[in-house]
Amino acid sequence: MPGRTVSFHPDDRYAAFLRTIPEAPFGEGRLAGVPVAVKDNISTAGIETTCASRILEGYVPPFDATVVERLKRAGAAIVGKTNMDEFGMGTTTENSAFWPTLNPADPSRVPGGSSGGSAAAVAAGLVPLALGTDTGGSIRCPAAFCGIVGLKPTYGRVSRYGLIAYANSLEQIGPMAKTVTDASLLMEVIAGHDPRDSTSRDCPYHHTPDPEIRGLRIGVPEEFFGEGVDARVASVVWDAISLLERKGAEVITCRMPSMAYALAAYYVTCTSEASSNLARFDGVRYGPPADTKKPWHEAFQERRREGFGEEVRRRIMLGTFALSSGYYGKYYAKAQAARNNVRADFERLFCDVDVLAGPTMPTVAFRFGEKSDPLSMYLSDILTVPANLAGVPAISVPCGKVEGLPVGLQVMGRWMEDERVVDVAYAFEQGRSA
């Protein structure tokens, strides 16, 4: 029915949104009239899409991302675009070129990132559902920090068409919600084959979460509780794993040696791809225009220097270096070898166990400005990047608190077994509230 809209005037006290649609149209379908927030790196036809970057200010995509098309077809109302780390590069949403987002669980702390706006919008109850994107943990980290559910689907299960690429070979769009059931419902709407994305697989997701986990084998790699993991966080997560054991699962400790190189492999890969993906932002086609009085290469340099934030420039430089002739073999090629080791480790472990479990993040949400040097920030991604490197599904579900701050339990599954990680998260959620 044409002309129906959802009025959306949220009390956005945590600055989750970059822009909202006061009268958001919606249609018929399973999500008829349900307000959904969309991360600002997902293209929305007619709605400005900036990736929280100055360089894309004013860019209004002429087309919808496939996931947005699917949302609209299911009747959902796209009510706003959420804040994020610029181009997805960050773990706190502090790298937004516009403003930081606050964590609804404790406004003196970051919401996590890079999908911090989506997580905060859901946690604050402004929307029941939100889309995030996860390149190295960007859905799961803010879900854990804000105390909601976030799923990074198997690579290829959700179309990337319309997702403004940061690191193409790693990232997926995924659902964020307060409950596993809601996340699963949103996953059902967005998943499925898309001929416009060559990396998309024909594997739709039709699933109702099932809490029965008797006989399930849960692997817990020692490395998931290694150096840098806060003891209080570890204890909350172990309690959660024990609950799953009481529900009939078998817990098996194991090892994942490739974790030693996962973070390095991740950062070399994602920065390499980013250095190429972001080359198109040169002031010719979008954003504030380059100075046409200057020679084009000078104008390009100036535009890119001013338009990109510090972290984005750093990653472009790192990636450019890693791909340079003479260094390619040492960095990019080696990172791909390490990535294959991570994949092989998962394959080996998944012969003996059905899922892997551990903490989503090594700590609870940081205070603003707490992580000031990039390296210690990068280290906090150590538990989430392996799933992206291997392309396997991973979910974060709230499993308790440390001093009032949410902690996430992360469950990773076999390739294309998103349903199973959803079931395990659901079993925990049900078991906990029982």
């Binding site: 087309f63 690429a165 994305d197 060559s198 990396t199 198109r280 040169d282 086609r285 002739s325 390619y328």
Partner: protein, 479 residues
């Protein structure tokens, strides 16, 4: 001094749509930026999707060039900044090309020659810059992305060519091969671009870029050979450099920009999956190619190797020849007419076989065959028709043209009638009493002279047999 030449040839594949999106490739007569979509504009979030037809076309080329096709082929990103490059990188192929290690046999300077093909790969064409206010000092520059995403194949040869002429012959053979495959239209502006590497044995190699025509290749290389020989003669060293060919002046100039070794930072394109090409190539069939067709022309139509080579050296001409009736095809006269007369007249006018209505020339051949016009008249009609096409783009029907020029054969009626041949013969006899007298004295040559006079009066349209008969009869009657 031995000349060593290797070529890198970029050809636009003649697909209906672009390499990674559904935009039409038929952009040449349309306004700028009217054949674009989010994909070929490289808009954020868009993703490439391979055009299978383009891969099929490229695999046909690989097969025709006798290449090895690997199990898997992969796209890569070539990263560099340029205003015509909408994504900041070009999707091309790097370490896993579509095909390698092929060859193409050509007529070389010293007979048959095998030119080795290093590799064949696919890539997308970038957009095009349009400089407003003169190329030297443009006021401003506009970008047209209609061309962005047009499928290209790059064909790289080993340095096996030994002269500018051989390079040109190679290109002609390559063009013929691609057109036989139906994957390339050489008539489209900008459909071919060549970079040539040329060195004199023992000297550094120079790369000449920006060659966009078949003749240009020979011109550019000839210029380079002379330039390099002169430099060496003067005791100068040849610098290893990139030069640009300026077609209008027929010279190459040193690229002014600093010759920094570009680092393209190639890496596998993460948005596309590798192509499984070996099995695919095995399933693809390719049509008869120029060499095979040439042999068949010799064998089936009894043509000379030279005629057969000319008639099969261009797909359109070969098709035209084979559209002629069987009895015409086996005649040397027809082969001569097409290979020498028709192509010669076209060449003289710098016209191409495309854009001329071949049906007209077929009809002309049939009219000539039927004896309705003489050989000489046929050539005159051909010239007139070609002139019309060159000047106006169209031409009359052959019969119209023959009628207008009054070139239909004039037939003499039976004895005593007052037809044009008899009239002309009477005139000739009246005007040349000496010749008549000579004839009556038994000088046979005198009759030939009189025949010539009649032919001139009838503008070559009378049949010599008729003229002979009429003259003889008139002269004997006068006696």
């Amino acid at each position: 001094m031995t000349v060593i030449v290797g070529l890198e040839i970029h050809c636009q594949l003649d697909t209906a749509t672009k390499l990674f999106c559904g935009c039409s490739t038929d952009y040449r007569d349309d306004p700028p930026n009217s054949h674009v979509c989010p994909v070929c504009l490289g808009l954020p979030g868009s993703l490439p999707k391979i055009n299978k037809k383009a891969v099929e076309f490229a695999l046909k080329v690989a097969k025709a060039l006798n290449c090895e096709v690997p199990e898997e082929s992969e796209f890569a990103r070539k990263n560099y900044f340029y205003p015509d490059l909408d994504k900041g990188y070009q999707i091309t192929q790097y370490d896993k090309p579509l095909a390698v290690c092929g060859y193409l046999d050509i007529e070389g300077d010293e007979g048959e020659k095998r030119v080795r093909i290093t590799r064949v790969h696919m890539e997308e064409d970038p957009g095009r810059l349009v400089h407003k206010g003169g190329a030297d000092r443009p006021k401003y520059t506009l970008v047209d992305y209609n061309r962005a995403g047009i499928p290209l194949i790059e064909i790289v040869t080993e340095p096996d060519l030994r002269s500018p002429k051989e390079a040109r012959r190679f290109l002609n053979k390559l063009r013929a091969t691609l057109e036989y495959l139906g994957v390339f239209d050489s008539e489209k502006e900008g459909s071919l671009r060549v970079d040539a590497n040329i060195s004199l044995a023992g000297s550094e190699r120079v790369e000449v870029k920006n060659i966009t025509s078949y003749k240009g290749v020979e011109k550019a290389l000839t210029f380079e050979v002379t330039r390099q020989k002169n430099a060496i003669r003067r005791g100068q060293k040849i610098a290893r450099e990139t030069r640009h060919f300026v077609e209008a002046r027929g010279v190459t100039t040193s690229s002014r920009s600093k010759e920094m070794e570009q680092d393209y930072r190639y890496f596998p394109e993460p948005d596309l999956r590798p192509l499984r090409v070996r099995n695919w190539a095995e399933e693809i069939e390719i049509p008869e190619l120029p060499d095979a067709r040439k042999l068949r022309f010799i064998k089936d139509y009894g043509l000379s190797p030279t005629h057969a080579a000319t008639l099969t050296g261009d797909w359109q001409i070969a098709e035209f020849y084979e559209s002629l009736p069987a009895d015409l095809r086996v005649s040397t006269a027809t082969a001569t007419w097409v290979a020498d007369t028709l192509l010669g007249e076209l060449n003289y006018r710098d016209m191409s076989i495309r854009g001329v209505p071949l049906d007209h020339f077929k009809e002309l051949l049939l009219i000539r065959q039927a004896g309705e016009i003489t050989e000489k008249a046929a050539v005159e009609v051909l010239r007139s028709l070609l002139d019309q096409i060159r000047d106006t783009g169209t031409c009359e029907l052959p019969r119209q043209c023959i009628g207008r020029l009054g070139l239909f054969v004039i037939t003499a009626a039976e004895e005593g009638a007052n037809d044009p041949v008899t009239a002309a013969a009477r005139e000739a006899i009246a005007e040349n009493p000496q010749a008549v007298a000579d004839f009556c004295q038994g000088k046979k040559e005198a009759l030939n002279f009189l025949v010539g006079q009649v032919m001139r009066k009838t503008r070559g349209c009378a049949k010599p047999g008729d003229v002979n008969r009429v003259l003889t009869s008139l002269l004997s009657g006068d006696e």
